[in-house]
């Protein structure tokens, strides 16, 4: 854990000396931003907030990204900060239902956030109240190797059947149609999300992840029947369950695989490995059932106020600042992601532009399987998808198991 006491403490001290600190506040922020880009983005955010609010003294604790996921449960109950970052959707539900997050609906109402942050409103709402403020999201979709597409004379597919037909061409040429690494199981969750969103649509997917639909429902089975068209002929890189998602990236870079279904965070490592805007392409997941509205996965990152926060007044000021269009433009420029505020500017990067266009015209935004479904269901579900990708013939046993889990969990 790294402790940062902002240099603006000096400004605060000066203000205090001159007797100007009318309502001086101590504001403690805990974040998991140990990676370079998020760290720089938060550094900028906090500096700007200090500049605008010299009377507040910010203390910023940075946790390791993975360790934070368990640490948050300890510090929420033991020594709560005034602000902490987390994720939208059902990922925040355990904290909301156990009373660890503060209701911040008033911040939303006072600042008109229901208009500016409209796209994230459903995923921030539980029991009709808002529990935090979103500041960034990113798109999911299919990244592809343009050179491989050119070599096989393949165009960007519009429908699932086109995609499967292209896969056959790649397979004949000894190239994996699509690659993935499901060792951590969530990339398999991304595949399921898109298969279900394209087969049954947004509302069905939300009902399913909220436990309102049985996993043994024939419409769920249909998702896997479609998915099997990709898996049974062996169009996916074999043994993917022993590969980390990062270790599957070289397949795309070296042209051993044609496509990769991933989040936009994959662009940075792909470019670092030598791909450019000329060789790396992006397209939205193809249509499966004609007429089903195009919904997308767009995981949203958020900031919340713990129920035990000591300085709620300044924490709410911080959230209002975070929600502003200019704040989000600047932060996401550094993050290389998309701002949630619809008045904010999007960076020039072609992948960001493509993502922005795709998401702003979408018929619904899902968070991601492990954020839409409750934690326990997410784990069992993604494990099932991982198994399906290795043994598509076991689908009935897998769905029966998921259905047992659904009955117990919800």
């Amino acid at each position: 854990m790294v402790h940062y006491t902002r240099s603006a403490a000096l400004a605060f001290a000066v203000a205090a000396l001159t007797g100007m600190a009318a309502h001086a506040g101590e504001l403690v922020i805990d974040t998991d931003t140990s990676d370079p880009a998020p760290k720089a983005a938060f550094q900028g955010l906090i500096d700007d907030f200090q500049k605008a609010n010299p009377d507040v003294h910010v203390t910023w604790n940075i946790f390791d990204h993975e360790g934070y996921k368990t640490a948050i449960r300890n510090f929420m109950t033991a020594d709560a900060p005034d602000l902490a970052n987390w994720y939208a959707g059902n990922r925040m539900a355990p904290f909301v239902t156990s009373g660890q997050f503060l209701d911040v609906s008033d911040v939303w109402d006072k600042n008109g956030l229901k208009d500016t942050l409209k796209s994230a409103l459903p995923s921030m709402t539980i029991d009709g109240k808002q529990w935090g403020v979103p500041y960034t999201y990113y798109q999911w979709g299919i990244y592809y190797n343009k050179d491989v597409f050119k070599k096989f004379g393949v165009d960007v597919p519009k429908t699932w059947d086109d995609f499967i037909a292209d896969c056959a061409k790649f397979k004949a040429g000894g190239v994996d149609c699509t690659t993935t690494g499901t060792k951590a199981s969530w990339p398999a969750g991304g595949w399921f999300d898109y298969m279900d969103l394209r087969t049954n649509g947004y509302q069905f997917h939300m009902d399913l992840t909220n436990g309102k639909i049985a996993w043994t429902d024939p419409r769920v089975k249909e998702v896997f029947t479609q998915w099997a068209k990709l898996i049974v002929p062996g169009y996916v890189t074999p043994n993917s369950s022993a590969i980390d998602w990062q270790d599957a990236l070289p397949n795309l870079v070296q042209g051993k695989a044609a496509t990769y279904l991933m989040g936009n965070f994959a662009v940075a490592p792909l470019k670092a490995a030598g791909m450019t805007n000329d060789t790396l392409g992006f397209f939205a997941f193809p249509e499966i059932t004609p007429g089903v509205g195009r919904a997308e996965d767009a995981p949203t990152d958020t900031i919340h106020i713990p129920a035990k926060a000591k300085n709620v007044v300044d924490a709410k000021r911080f959230l209002a600042f975070l929600a502003q269009a200019d704040t989000q433009s600047k932060m996401n420029d550094t993050l290389g992601q998309l701002p949630v505020n619809n008045q904010a500017k999007v960076g020039d990067d072609p992948f960001l532009q493509a993502g922005f266009k795709m998401l702003s015209t979408a018929d619904g935004l899902a968070q991601f399987f492990d954020r839409d479904a409750p934690a326990e269901m997410a784990k069992i579900g993604m494990e099932g998808f991982q198994e399906f990708m290795a043994h598509p013939d076991r689908i009935d046993a897998i769905l029966a198991r998921l259905e047992t889990a659904r009955k117990r969990i919800y």
């Binding site: 368990t70 355990p94 009373g99 043994n239 022993a242």
Partner: protein, 302 residues
Amino acid sequence: MSAPTASRSGYWRRNQRALAPLLFVAPGALMFTVYVVLPIFRSMSISFYDWDGMGVKKWIGLANYAELWSDPAFVVSLENNVIWLVLYMLAVPAGLFIAIFLNQNTRGIRIYKSLFFFPFVISQVVVGLIFSWFYAPGFGLFFKLTQLFDPAGIALLADERYATYGIIAAGLWPQIAYCMILYLTGLNNVAPDQVEAARLDGAKGWRMLWYVILPQLRPATFIAVVVTVIGALRSFDLVSIMTQGGPYGSTRVLSYYMYEEALSEYGYRMGYGAAIAVVLFAIMMVFISGFIWKMYRDETER
């Protein structure tokens, strides 16, 4: 230091023999109580609740334990723990074999000994990574070797039939080294006169090993078995690094499953995790009390 008062020094002098050992034990006992004994009882009490680690605890009695028996993931973990326990025992004879092989005086034997001991010195995390790459589909050495027989190759860690064995093989590498070093020190203490006498009586090879050397190595064997049993039961790091319990949960062991349920990214079931921990503790207690009973018997026999 100030001079002790007469009465205190008198009390101290009278009871010094009784108090001194208690004082020496006190710091260790305090730590042991706070960090080992109390958490054990705390885990036991948590295992009777339905609790997400943050909110309100709900008393559900033995429901967590009842659920364990119908939970296929728990059964798989338990089975894997048994496989670990049985196969890990191979480390004891293998360590003995290498120790006997290395127990000779040739040029540079110390270098060979340290090379054999090396895997025990490096971290389990590194062992896990090395073996992951060894098995890795596409470029791993083991994968390439299997391609000689089967053009598709066998990705050991992606196949639920072999993955657990792949991890155990990785675990055996440092464990054999550990047993080896225990036996090497044991072999130093083997009485040369007994070996000499046995040789005069015509004992050789297996008979020499079985009737003369091994009985003298009993203390080393005992420790080797103890550390191997405990090592097998607390296997966590290799599973976590090499497969994260996958593919689809087939390589989970109890300690990893407990972590997944209670503490991991998707685990919010403290009570259920605690129940798994209690079961693991009970299994360990069978072995630990056996060991303690044997040690107690050996000491009182003298």
